[in-house]
């Protein structure tokens, strides 16, 4: 039986594909949807990472030192799940454009 890796393919470096397929990994600028943004109260944050795990856009980075949370504002949709799920209420949603 032929193994998949032994099967010949006609794949030159650049080639034409007929029919529908997606092949360029892109991201939507979902940050532009945001009406509110999460703001972290640094002293209250215990760096547990729950916000990060539940963030639909995976845009929260938890730092071990310094500022506990970093947000990738390019993708944060401002849904507020992070704030809602924070066990210490260390996150609050503030109107986009306000705060720091």
């Amino acid at each position: 039986m032929e193994k998949q890796q032994d099967m010949p393919t006609s794949t030159p470096a650049k080639r034409r594909v007929l029919g529908p397929c997606s092949h360029i990994l892109v991201a939507a600028h979902t940050g532009s949807w945001r009406m509110e943004r999460p703001q972290v109260e640094e002293e209250a944050c215990i760096r547990c990472g729950i916000c990060s795990k539940y963030c639909p856009t995976a845009c929260i980075t938890v730092n071990k030192e310094g500022c506990p949370l970093e947000f990738d504002w390019h993708y944060c949709k401002g849904c507020g799940i992070c704030a809602n799920e924070c066990p210490r209420q260390a996150l609050s949603m503030i109107p986009e454009g306000s705060g720091e």
Binding site: M1, T9, S10, V17, G19, P20, C21
Partner: protein, 404 residues
């Protein structure tokens, strides 16, 4: 080494599949295709075909599985008929649009309603614009020949369009005939191993197939398919020529039979063609210049070849084995007329042989009689529904209690 073997139409389809060495088989049994599904299962069980046999729960899944499997880089086999093809319809479009070159025997059987087990072309004609190549066999031998060629045509990198190899239920599917069959090696040398190209599912070469295509690209995708059909017309000529060179049997997109000097001709498709030729011979013996044009490849429609073959024939009858309900004509006739645009030929559509009604030598004699009547100026119309009974509107007369 060619050998004479005995096959019925379904057996010839299975033999062609065996010779093409599929890796995955998914077929759902349906009359009159059932023996294809059964024999494929047998062949896998006996080791004659080394494939994964997926015993599917419907034709819809049969085609879905075929698409999924072939996109991983294996040749697949499936087959269907009638309502099974109708159930597949949605996914047939996916195979075509995703350029998955599946080759599928379709045993022609009428669509419901009324229920029927018997042959007509309403099933495949309903699929004629789905984006599949369509070949119609006229003998059991040709089922094998066309199917072997279909693999090459469909899988050609400029074509990449799936094929239906259509043949008439019972008239061919269950007709035991001698078939000149190439050896396994010869056939394999012709069909060649399946090479995955264009789109495929491979974790080492990532693409996501059949995602939403925005309007700004959709027309272009269809244009690509249209170009595939254009190339299929040329490629099939090349492949047919290669097949003839290798195996000595001539296949043609359209077969002209005694048309050179014909004054009347019929256009046929499928198993009725042999009977038509028989009647042409009878008429020729009487000195009547009759001829026949058989359409073997219906998609892409060989309009130029048809035009060329028929342009000098004054009176032509086109026989559809499906009703083309609501259409100006049956589907074959509509296409032939379009192909003949600008010519002075008188072209008449005939509809008959529905749901297994026999198209006999007598039927052809009647049709030729009418066409000759036109030719000689004795009449101006033909009996389009040539085999319908006179009491068609009254075949059910019932006592009813309802106040209607």
């Amino acid at each position: 080494m060619m050998a004479i073997k005995m096959f019925d139409g379904n057996g010839a389809a299975v033999e062609a599949i065996r010779l093409a060495r599929p890796g995955v088989i998914a077929a759902y049994p349906i009359t009159p295709q059932s023996s294809i599904a059964e024999h494929l299962a047998d062949a896998v069980a006996e080791g004659a075909i080394k494939a994964e046999y997926v015993r599917v729960e419907s034709e819809h899944s049969a085609m879905s599985i075929s698409i999924g499997a072939q996109l991983t880089g294996v040749r697949v086999a499936t087959a269907t008929a009638s309502v099974g093809l109708a159930l597949m319809h949605e996914v047939c479009g996916v195979a075509a649009g995703c350029r998955v070159p599946i080759v599928m025997p379709v045993v022609n059987r009428s669509l419901v309603a009324p229920w029927s087990l018997w042959c007509d072309h309403s099933d495949t004609m309903a699929e004629r614009d789905t984006g599949w190549l369509q070949f119609y066999a006229s003998t059991v031998q040709e089922i094998l020949d066309l199917q072997l060629c279909a693999y090459r045509i469909s899988e050609h990198e400029d074509v990449m369009i799936p094929s239906m190899v259509c043949f008439d239920g019972f008239y061919l599917s269950h007709s035991m005939q001698r078939v000149d069959t190439p050896s396994d090696e010869e056939a394999w040398d012709f069909v060649k191993p399946y090479v995955k190209k264009n789109m495929y599912l491979d974790t080492k070469d990532v693409m996501f197939i059949n995602d939403l295509c925005p309007t700004v690209e959709h027309t272009e995708m269809k244009y690509q398919q249209m170009m595939g059909f254009k190339r299929a017309a040329q490629v099939s000529d090349e492949i047919f020529a290669e097949y003839e060179k290798r195996f000595g049997r001539k296949l043609k997109q359209v077969e002209a039979y005694r048309l050179e000097d014909a004054e009347v001709a019929v256009v046929t498709i499928g198993s009725m063609s042999g009977t038509g030729k028989y009647v042409v011979e009878q008429l020729r013996e009487k000195g009547i210049k009759a001829g026949l044009l058989r359409i073997c490849m219906f998609r892409p429609f060989p309009d130029q070849k048809i035009h060329e073959a028929l342009k000098n024939i004054p009176v032509i009858g086109v026989i559809d084995r499906s009703c083309g309900l609501g259409g100006a004509q049956g589907p074959v006739c509509s296409e032939v007329k379009a192909a003949m645009y600008g010519e002075n030929s008188k072209i008449y559509g005939y509809i008959g042989g529905i749901a297994g009604r026999d198209i006999s030598d007598g039927s052809f004699r009647k049709i030729f009689d009418e066409l000759l009547g036109i030719k000689e100026g004795k009449s101006e119309t033909v009996s389009t529904w040539f085999d319908v009974e006179e009491n068609a509107m009254n075949i059910r007369e019932v006592e009813t209690n309802a106040n209607v």
